[in-house]
């Protein structure tokens, strides 16, 4: 997967490059809009990460220009601004996504993968999800572990579904809040953790291995191995 990272802050560019390459992306970087434009037109990228505050031009102007030049790859917008610009919302509706700084690396990776998945040809949406001995019936909204039906509330089912869809990958608390509850808030109490504990109590029966792992300081991951 070829990825173009447009970010003028060298520090951020460096650690993003490291993490993205670790995640298996082939990363090209640009420090300003001009370079980004040249690179994007000459090379077929699968995805672009563009910071809004570029030294030579506005990030949104760059995106619009690239779109005019025929660049179709999805864009993840990074913004250090506090409020989300209406124009960013417009792009979001057009299939792109945004992330405000500072962010968790896991969230950045998740959003990048989401954009790539969204952009690929939509296959037949599975009606069943299976992770190890955990199985989710998305139509009947039922989950079973080793054939045993789990007693989940509808909200717990949505949470488990989200974890299953991202099995093997880290999801952060703010990702869970955004995707499961539909809100971008940053509570400084452990609201999400308590939901996870409850879910874990129901999913991991006695004598079974724990499927939901906590990564301290980062988030959670549903084991797929």
């Amino acid at each position: 997967m070829r990825l173009l990272l447009v970010e003028d802050e060298i520090d951020i560019q460096k650690f993003l490059r490291t993490s993205l390459e670790e995640a298996g992306f082939h990363v090209e970087t640009a420090g300003d809009g001009k370079t980004a434009e040249r690179l994007a037109v000459d090379n077929p990228f699968d995805i672009l990460i563009i910071d809004l505050g570029l030294p030579d031009q506005d990030g949104i102007a760059l995106i619009l220009k690239l779109r005019q030049l025929g660049v179709r790859a999805p864009v993840l917008i990074l913004s250090a601004r506090r409020s989300v610009d209406d124009r960013v919302r417009g792009l979001e509706q057009g299939g792109d996504d945004y992330l405000t700084k500072p962010f968790a690396l896991a969230e950045l990776l998740a959003r990048v993968r989401n954009l790539l998945k969204r952009n690929s040809a939509p296959g037949n949406e599975a009606t069943r999800l299976r992770v190890l001995d955990l199985e989710l019936d998305l139509l009947r909204r039922e989950a079973t572990r080793s054939g045993q039906l789990l007693q989940l509330t509808s909200q717990e089912f949505v949470l488990l579904e989200y974890l299953c869809r991202n099995a093997g990958r880290v999801v952060t608390r703010s990702m869970i809040l955004d995707q499961v509850w539909g809100m971008r808030i940053q509570p400084d109490t452990n609201v999400v953790d308590v939901h996870i504990y409850r879910l874990r109590g129901k999913v991991d029966g006695q004598g079974q291995q724990s499927l939901i792992r906590t990564l301290r300081g980062v988030g959670y991951v549903l084991k797929d191995r």
């Binding site: 650690f15 700084k101 500072p102 809100m183 308590v194 300081g217 980062v218």
Partner: protein, 489 residues
């Protein structure tokens, strides 16, 4: 026109202005008419009195010069009849005889000497005897059998007899009556026309004021780019609009400056925060030993708290300056609260706190979903942090006609008395609080940015009580709510 628009018109300033203006106009024209009426009436009377006095003198001359023989009655009678015919009489149709004029000559002792007129003159003579008629001064005389009075002039002849000439005021009254009728119709027409013109003119002018008001109220806290309409004229209202627009220009430019400052401050702080957080995360993933990760995890947590604090304090700063930017959409508060209670219920249950919602049903507001989420989250976090075990939080949501009210009550210790008067100020926190002191200031900021109100205090029976009202969406139930619980993509 529906009754609501009619009510609206009746309460408008244009209606009141036209009512008062019409009243003044009606009174004025009525006074003018009364004056005219009096003038015309007295003039008509003066003319008929002059005629009566002249005729009665002619008749006296005739009576004095005519020899008192058998022809006397005929000569004087014919002269009197001729005089009577000079009077234009339009009501002749009722009876063939001319009853609008009569002539009486009485002898010195008061007995009837000569009568010319309709009927036998008994009633006339009786009326004359009953009233004291001074010679040379025409006076009104009511005669039995006649509706309208007669104007009677009298004169004394040389031989001591009296001559009376009476003229019915019927004609005069008829003229005045028709004049009154015509004037009344004309007056009514003028008043109605005047009312219409004044109402139309003031409504037009005030509609411009109304447009200005509507435009000005639309220019909310977040949208300062629109301007009130100017009508292109150079009158007072146009001046008002232009002054408002100039004021808005200035506010917009200072608001823009404030945004630039807070944005660049946020940007300058967030970039290093992003870099630090990223490096910490990388060091966390590459750390070999579990015991080395603990400080890194703590540092990331602190960083996230710092970020949230930065966001909240900049938001509060902007909101205090009424400059918070809103991305409004239609939100059902009822549904939003249910989702958020669902989110917070396990944490509260863990601490032994109960939470419940009583709601009157959907309450649609046009608000910034992100800010409302953070506002409710702040309120819940407050309860989570400060309520002791075994307490209960109750929420009441009421959707009114123009505002939705949310009451949050708990049965905990309530607010500290010393912070109570300054609850919504920044950095105000209770003694036992370990928060950053922005929670309620932020809640207040969000509520105010949405044009709502907030009050907080302690309940009489113990516990805290916060009342929030938010204006509801003007179009009821248009579109579905914007927030929805949804699964993963």
């Amino acid at each position: 026109m529906s009754s609501k628009t009619a009510k609206h018109v009746l309460h408008s300033a244009a209606w009141r202005i036209s009512l008062w203006a019409t009243l003044a106009f009606a009174c004025g024209t009525m006074l003018v008419f009364i004056f005219l009426h009096r003038f015309v009436a007295s003039d008509i009377q003066r003319r008929s009195d002059a005629w009566l006095s002249g005729e009665v003198e002619v008749l006296r001359d005739v009576a004095e010069r005519t020899p008192k023989d058998s022809l006397y009655d005929r000569v004087v009678g014919e002269v009197a009849e001729l005089a009577g015919k000079e009077v234009p009489n339009k009501d002749m149709s009722e009876s063939s005889a001319n009853d609008s004029v009569f002539f009486i000559q009485t002898s010195g002792d008061g007995s009837l000497k000569l009568w010319v007129g309709a009927g036998n003159g008994d009633a006339n003579l009786k009326a004359i005897r009953a009233s004291r008629i001074v010679p040379d001064h025409p006076t009104d005389l009511h005669i039995k059998g006649f509706e309208v009075p007669f104007r009677v002039a009298s004169i004394r002849t040389g031989d001591g007899s009296y001559i009376y000439l009476g003229l019915s005021e019927r004609d005069e009254l008829r003229v005045l009556k028709s004049m009154r009728l015509r004037f009344f119709l004309l007056w009514l027409l003028l008043v109605l026309l005047g009312f219409g013109i004044v109402f139309y003119a003031s409504r037009r002018m005030l509609s411009h004021v109304r447009q200005i008001t509507e435009a000005a109220s639309r220019i909310g806290h977040s949208d300062l780019s629109t301007r009130v309409p100017t009508n292109g004229k150079n009158d007072e209202v146009a001046n008002l609009a232009m002054t408002l627009n100039r004021m808005l220009d200035r506010i917009e430019s200072s608001m823009h400056q404030l945004h630039t400052i807070t944005d660049s401050l946020a940007h300058d702080l967030r970039s290093p925060l992003t870099a630090i957080r990223g490096k910490l995360e990388i060091s966390l993933s590459t750390a070999a030993h579990g015991d080395q990760t603990e400080p890194t995890v703590a540092a990331i947590d602190e960083l996230d708290r710092l970020t949230e604090f930065l966001n909240a304090s900049l938001d509060v700063a902007e909101a205090k300056a009424d400059a918070l930017r809103l991305n409004r959409s239609e939100i059902d508060l009822d549904q939003l609260l249910r989702v958020m209670i669902e989110l917070y219920e396990p944490s509260m249950a863990e601490k032994g706190i109960q939470i419940g919602l009583r709601s009157t049903g959907p309450a649609i507001v046009t608000a910034d979903a992100g800010l409302i989420h953070r506002m409710v989250s702040n309120l819940f976090e407050n309860e989570l942090k400060h309520l002791p075990t075994d307490c209960a939080v109750s929420l009441m949501l009421q959707a009114g006609e123009d505002s939705a009210s949310l009451i949050l009550e708990d049965d905990g210790p309530g607010f500290d008395a010393e912070v109570l008067p300054r609850l919504f100020e920044r950095r105000v926190r209770g003694r036992a609080s370990n928060g950053h002191g922005l929670g309620l200031a932020f809640v207040d900021a969000v509520v105010r940015a949405h044009g709502g109100t907030i009050t907080a205090g302690n309940r009489k029976c113990g516990g805290a009580r916060i009342l929030i009202t938010l204006p509801v969406a003007s179009r009821p139930h248009a579109g579905s709510s914007a927030t929805a619980m949804h699964g993963a993509h």
